[in-house]
């Protein structure tokens, strides 16, 4: 990420530039979880993590990414960013995270066409750039809320000055397809269409305020057999299927973030809410974080919480009103509904960690997380084994090395 190549400068008039520039970032990390009956993962897209599958896992946070930016004229540029990390099928594979053309109308207004990371919560579009974050990972209680994190379509960024503050408005619209491993909401593809997101960041001196709203229609084809089976049970089954089906189901999400960062210390807080009347459910997450910088060492302390705000239990089909031979199948369908609903996480996490910028472009972090699983919840853990004690405590130890090039 050389600051001296003109292709990367603010002044778009400078055309004596090379046309292409390259930058890279990555994280090498290992996580240990004390909970051996389930896996800790930072995102629902990965099939396994630390705890049950591996005592120590490098797959939770490790990744490497490269970005090529092409500048074709003072107004037109393109970017491709490829990230290699553990994918939904377990393999460490590269995928295209960003690929778009940008038309810069002026230094304040630009239009992008193609793929971008969805700018929802404050750090959502930079959540994989570990070097840009104070912590090993952004708090999962907020950053794992929305099932959609990327967008294929159009984006507009408008930055303007209001008094001595800078306001950046981002409008994003399009669609997205994500692949999930087998999990509480089913494996396969989640397709989002009619995706619309509005995010606004207001920066005034050392203070920052962020707000975002978004909505989309989500379809998960792998869940269709469950709802097709429910529909066979007459009007009660139809009603259940109509309510919970994830077929063009409307999902809305919103977030509010605030921070104060004078450099020698920082505080930051965020609140996020996901809402859907389908099987995806409704939940609210938030965190507060603070840190102090002592030279090249920045210790930090976080508290985060996530909880369901809608149904976590569905009585389902009335078994008593069914003939004997249909009671077992009906019970299984009820069980499948409740398995998904009870999977909506309830947990709270205390985090203590430190970041050490021991050399240029590299940061070393050590982090301890104490996760208190909510009563009757497995929190954000995956691959839950029968021996897992709900409502227990999980101790995580993470060590990471973040770098940028």
């Amino acid at each position: 990420m050389s600051a001296s190549t003109s292709a990367e400068t603010m002044n778009d008039v400078d055309l004596t530039a090379p046309m292409f520039s390259f930058a890279a970032f990555g994280t090498l990390a290992a996580v240990h979880s004390s909970e051996e009956q389930a896996d800790f993962v930072a995102t629902a897209y990965k099939p396994d993590g630390a705890g049950f599958s591996n005592s120590w896992s490098g797959k939770v946070d490790s990744l490497i990414a490269g970005q090529v930016t092409g500048t074709f004229s003072p107004h037109v540029s393109a970017v491709v960013q490829v990230v290699a990390e553990q994918s939904h099928d377990g393999a460490f594979q590269p995928h295209v995270e960003w690929a778009n053309f940008r038309y810069q109308f002026s230094p304040d207004l630009s239009l992008t066409f193609g793929r971008t990371a969805l700018p929802t919560f404050t750090h959502n579009d930079s959540r994989k750039v570990g070097y840009s974050l104070p912590w090993v990972r952004p708090p999962v209680e907020v950053y794992d809320l929305a099932p959609i994190t990327s967008n294929d379509g159009l984006g507009v960024i408008y930055q303007r000055r209001i008094g001595s503050a800078t306001n950046t408005l981002q409008l994003t619209g399009g669609w997205s397809v994500s692949k999930f491993p087998g999990g509480r909401i089913g494996a396969g593809e989640a397709k989002a269409r009619e995706l619309l997101s509005i995010a606004d960041t207001h920066e005034w001196g050392f203070a920052m305020l962020h707000v975002n709203f978004g909505r989309t229609r989500v379809s998960i084809a792998a869940l269709e057999p469950l709802f097709a089976a429910l529909r066979q049970f007459g009007p009660p089954g139809e009603a259940l299927a109509d309510k919970y089906e994830v077929n063009d189901a409307l999902v809305s999400f919103m977030g509010l973030g605030a921070g104060y960062n004078p450099g020698e210390w920082f505080v930051q807080a965020e609140w996020g809410h996901l809402d859907s009347s389908s099987l995806l459910g409704a939940k609210t997450g938030w965190y507060v974080s603070g840190g102090i910088r002592f030279g090249t060492l920045t210790p930090y302390l976080n508290y985060a919480d996530v909880r369901p705000t809608g149904r976590t239990f569905e009585a389902g089909l009335d078994l008593a009103s069914l003939p004997a031979n249909l009671q077992d199948p009906a019970a299984q369908l009820n069980g499948a509904l409740n398995s998904a609903l009870s999977g909506i996480p309830r947990q709270a996490t205390y985090t203590l960690g430190a970041r050490w910028d021991f050399m240029r472009n590299v940061a070393f972090k050590l982090q301890y997380d104490q996760i208190a699983l909510g009563r009757d919840s497995v929190g954000t853990l995956l691959n839950v084994q029968p021996g897992l004690r709900r409502g227990g405590t999980v101790h995580l130890f993470s060590a990471s090395l973040d770098f940028v090039l």
């Binding site: 960024i157 004078p262 910028d357």
Partner: protein, 138 residues
Amino acid sequence: MKRIAPGLVAAALCLTVQAALADVVAIVAAQSPITSLTSAQISDVFLGKLTRLADGTRPLPIDQTEGSATRDAFYLQIAGKSPAQMKAFWSKLIFTGRGRPPKAVADDLAVLKSVQENPVAIGYLDRRSVNASVRIQP
């Protein structure tokens, strides 16, 4: 005597503190149309948050290359950010396509040259390198 002395001491202290902090100064060409920028505005120009001044001028920030002691002192002074924090700041913008750092030149001499070549350029350098061709901001 009793009333004047504390005032003199306070003034001397202010000058001393100012001299200790003012190793790096922001400068524009002597003939630049940019006349009065505050410290906060200079910080915002270099961080990409202020791209157009009240009179419509688009200032052009000139950085010094990463690793330079002058650069590190400048950002600590004007934005409160350590070199790592500056790198983290630009990483977030570069990898989300929202911004790019200013053009960087090698040293104080190169800054003086760049500022001469472009009337809307703002650079920073060691106070001792200031000459008649440039004006200190603020």
